[in-house]
Symmetry: C2
Subunit: 275 residues, 2 copies
């Protein structure tokens, strides 16, 4: 999806919220379990009740794969439902894939062609030639893991190198990759102390920022340091929104949470003179 389209959507919805659809059958309201496809029914209700307050949905592929073929069917139905009914929405396959060239090409085919996602998260451990097959798709976005929100980020991403940290060296070298203009970066919301340095290297690229809420990141602090002249950030919340209710009104409870985040985002956009 063109970045301009994402920016326009942010400005018109006054929100840069992404809702993460990490659907766990053990956590969704019990009454849904009697339905033919509980995962899709859950997603459909959440989407119908939140699409006006968010600009993106992120589908965590692990949660679908865990249910085998049934899960893949729910995944297909969900992405098709969004693509058909809410064409403005930016869709993210949170797949964290990445492999040697011919294999990455298969993953790109799967998520960009078969499932028709707008973007995919990619793990950059195998370097340039493992990411470029995704970048070849001009109308799609490739979101590489840079600095994640979890404790284990220190084990590799934050190792010191001659010039910097591993993740910073990676961001720098990613700028030389073919079609790097299609890159976005995952930066965890718990890692605000690195945001200003990151913005010096990639002032224009969009950042996908998970880790608000359950994982402890602070929305205001993140935005102050990461927002740019084209907004440039998408903030994801998954569990904090989708599991805020667990009875028949779960979708309304999710909507309430989404609105609360959207209002905070609206204020930030106004303060930053972006709307």
């Amino acid at each position: 999806m063109e970045v301009l389209k994402i920016v326009n959507q942010i400005k018109s919805k006054r929100s840069f919220l992404c809702v993460g659809l990490d659907v766990d059958l053990e956590k969704i309201p019990k009454f849904l379990l009697d339905k033919d496809d509980p995962i899709f029914e859950f997603n459909k209700s959440i989407i119908d009740n939140t699409h006006m307050h968010c600009i993106a949905y992120k589908l965590n592929i692990a949660f679908y794969e865990a249910y085998g073929i049934k899960g893949w069917k729910a995944l297909e139905k969900t992405i098709n439902y969004i693509n058909k009914n809410y064409t403005e929405i930016f869709t993210i396959a949170d797949a964290k894939r990445g492999d040697i060239g011919n294999t990455s090409r298969m993953y790109a085919k799967s998520f960009f062609e078969q499932l028709n996602f707008d973007s995919i998260t990619v793990n950059p451990y195998m370097g340039r030639d493992s990411v470029e097959p995704f970048l070849e798709y001009n109308d799609k976005n490739t979101i590489i893991l840079a600095l994640t929100s979890n404790e284990g980020s220190k084990d590799l991403q934050l190792i010191s190198t001659a010039n910097d940290y591993v993740f910073m060296d990676l961001i720098k070298s990613s700028k030389t990759w073919n079609n790097s203009k299609n890159l976005m970066y995952v930066i965890g919301a718990t890692k605000t102390e690195y945001l200003e340095e990151i913005r010096k290297i990639i002032p224009d690229n969009f950042l996908l920022i998970p880790g608000i809420g359950a994982q402890g990141g602070d929305l205001k602090e993140v935005c102050e340091k990461a927002i740019n002249h084209k907004v440039g950030i998408i903030i994801n919340s998954s569990r904090g929104i989708i599991y805020s209710g667990n009875d028949e009104k779960f979708a309304q409870a999710a909507e309430k949470e989404a609105i609360s985040l959207k209002k905070q985002m609206e204020e930030i956009l106004i303060d930053s003179k972006l709307i």
Copy 2:
């Protein structure tokens, strides 16, 4: 699978070959395309004709995902077929997954419980807490990417750190993770110059070594440097074996290739006084 069981299988089959089932519908013999499930039919013939010469099958998940639900069905049928008919075989889900704890747990559930693979390849970019959910399964093996065979390995894995290289720091720190005895490591066959150093740090763990053949690695050189007192290496070949024929005798052609590699391995095992 217990390492002892793998070692015993290697000794009795006189081979440490893994056949990679990276099935691409554009590359399999045309006559198979008329069948109900061409991917499974292809795999079944390859497996029936090679199982006595190899000790493991590695299923590259990308190649199945690329065909959506049809692909997942072929994946399930293939792993079930191996588990039912060739119980001694070590099965590898080449999935290169890895995510925050609760998500890695879903991937582990998917590949270890739903599909019942013996092992999975895991991408360690997100560190300890992204890998430990896989390691919790005591009867399964977790194979982390350490140093891969592709050109892009230099972009991140081979960045110099204060003490060493990124991938070496990673291997060292992985030894402190819970249940690290269940770890195996992917080391590309094109990276022989690092093998002796790697063996100093992890003398006992099994290495999964792709990159022989198509990617240019040399079998003898790899074995000289990587073999240990429990053999300790599994050599993977995918395209070099499964696409060696493209008519009705494709499985026999694959068998011939597998036998040729097995014979070289047998010699190496004899020379190393392991059989």
